[in-house]
Amino acid sequence: MAEPSREIAVQARSVGNVAIIYASDYLNKLSGERIERECRRQLESGCRTLIINFRDTELVNSIGVSILVGVIDAAEQSTARLIFSDVNNHTANLFEMLGLTRHVSLAADEAEALSLVSEA
């Protein structure tokens, strides 16, 4: 069955110059595209550090991976830093296996992610 086209706003907040974007429970096409749009919007508005918080994310499918790779590209083109926080073990292994971790930093939680930003 087709997913409803109703747009649900992606949760995001700013901490200083850092944008924190919250991924949903299942990162598929619909939720992935919302995150991608928000990341691009943040990058276009000049933000150079993005944290994607996966605290609610249980599963990332192939479309989700593809969209995240697109976000990585966009961040690299804008010379922005991208950090994934609160990634569960299964998803962290997936990101590791697919090589995403070569391009993003993983942080245990938001606090660690923010501290990584301040260290840089």
Binding site: S62, G64, S66, D73, G99
Partner: protein
């Protein structure tokens, strides 16, 4: 869970998702974009494109891409022999084989070479090239393994079949539309021919010009009021146009006689329904009942009509409609032996002859259609046909209501079958 198992599960899940995407053909472009994402996401590939091969134009058209910028936006030329060569690669290939042959292909296609692809996957269905998937490096920066190629080839095969099926469906739909257009054209020609025939019939009788076309239109209005389908209505309209075709064999001097028919002339004239049937039965009409409607349009419910003296339900419903339409037009137009009747007299004639000459259900339907037009509920078609001969038609409203009241529900013998 070890890495290999997890990798296997991830790619297996991509394959399952892809199968679902491809079976959903509601939005082809969306299906392609999603399939492309699935393919890239299965191995976290950073750049890629899906192109579709246009055999007639000899070009590859980009239908989805990521990370290739503007460089792949133009259609790429791909001559037929190159397409055949690519098709011979098949969708399953080893990394070395693929890249070696792909490199040779790229040497001929500099536009593709400039975008630094790592892998080229021909989409082949039934030995024909459907398109090509171009892939860049993986996020891991690792080389593609044989296992990767197996996975990608399987995914690409699905995408190829998806594109192919969609195009086949489009082709079938296109052909169906084309056939419908041809069929509509033939029907139009048929109707125009029939109208020309009707005009030819009426020309023979200088007192009844336009009679056949009007009978066709009255029949159409009555049938529609009786709830007949569009196809049945079209059939009875044609029957109305052709109901008097048998007059073509009746002696001209009889038809154009300025006096009421003598017994001999009447006998000659009464041949026309059977003669019409004989003419029309030789033609394979789209509506099978047309010859019968012509044959029986002078039959009467009480069995005193001709040529066969049929009674009640023995008379086909369409013939009963044409009978009323024919009589109505005869009474509302001037004849050589009398002037047109006042509308009140026509309706009184209907009242007097319903149940003997006319079917009550047909009379009711006619009166309802008439009333609907007078009271503005329906388009004025019947009134437009009458207005040439009558200035004031609204005055018959009480009579129409009375007829409906008298005969509504009395008989349903003329309902469509």
């Amino acid at each position: 869970m070890d890495t290999n198992t997890q990798r296997l599960l991830h790619t297996f899940s991509a394959l399952a998702d892809l199968g679902q995407e491809i079976s959903d053909t509601n939005d082809f472009e969306e299906m392609l974009r999603n399939s492309f994402h699935l393919l890239l996401g299965s191995l976290a590939i950073r750049r890629g494109a899906v192109t579709e091969y246009d055999r007639e134009a000899g070009t590859l058209r980009l239908i989805a891409s990521r990370g290739f910028g503007e460089s792949t936006n133009d259609a790429l030329e791909l001559p037929a022999d190159h397409a055949r060569e690519l098709a011979s690669f098949g969708s399953t290939m080893t990394l070395d084989g693929a890249t070696r042959r792909a490199q040779r292909f790229l040497e001929d296609h500099k536009a593709l070479a400039s975008i630094e692809i790592d892998l080229l996957l021909p989409l082949v269905v039934r030995e024909r090239l459907i398109g090509i998937v171009l892939l860049g490096e993986k996020a891991s920066a690792e080389k593609y393994t044989d296992e990767d190629l197996e996975v990608l080839s399987a995914l690409a095969r699905h995408i190829g079949v998806g594109i192919h099926s969609h195009r086949l469906l489009e082709e079938v739909e296109h052909k169906a539309i084309e056939n419908q257009r041809l069929y509509d054209g033939l029907r139009k020609i048929y109707k125009e021919t029939v109208q020309a025939f009707a005009a030819a019939i009426d020309i023979k009788d200088r007192y009844t010009q336009g009679h056949s076309v009007r009978v066709g239109k009255y029949s159409e209005i009555i049938a529609r009021e009786m709830g007949w389908s569009d196809e049945e209505v079209e059939g009875i309209t044609i029957a109305g146009y052709l109901h008097d075709i048998g007059k073509l064999i009746v002696d001209l001097s009889v038809i154009n006689s300025p006096e009421r028919f003598s017994a001999k002339d009447s006998k000659e004239m009464s041949r026309h329904p059977s003669a019409g049937y004989e003419i029309l039965a030789r033609i394979n009409h789209p509506y099978a009942e047309i010859p019968l409607m012509a044959r029986y349009h002078h039959e009467r419910i009480d069995g005193n009509g001709y040529p066969d003296g049929l009674k009640g339900d023995q008379i086909p419903p369409g013939a009963k409609i044409v009978t009323l339409a024919d009589s109505f037009d005869a009474m509302t137009t001037d004849r050589p032996y009398r002037k047109k009747l006042p509308l009140e007299d026509v309706l009184e004639d209907f009242r007097a002859n319903t149940g003997t000459q006319f079917d009550p259900a047909v009379v009711c339907a006619f009166c309802r259609a008439f009333l609907n037009e007078i009271e503005g509920r329906k388009e004025k078609r019947l009134l437009n046909l009458l207005k040439k001969n009558y200035d004031e038609v609204e005055s018959v409203t009480p009579l129409l209501n009375q007829l409906i009241s008298d005969f509504d529900g009395a008989s349903l013998t003329a309902t469509a079958h």
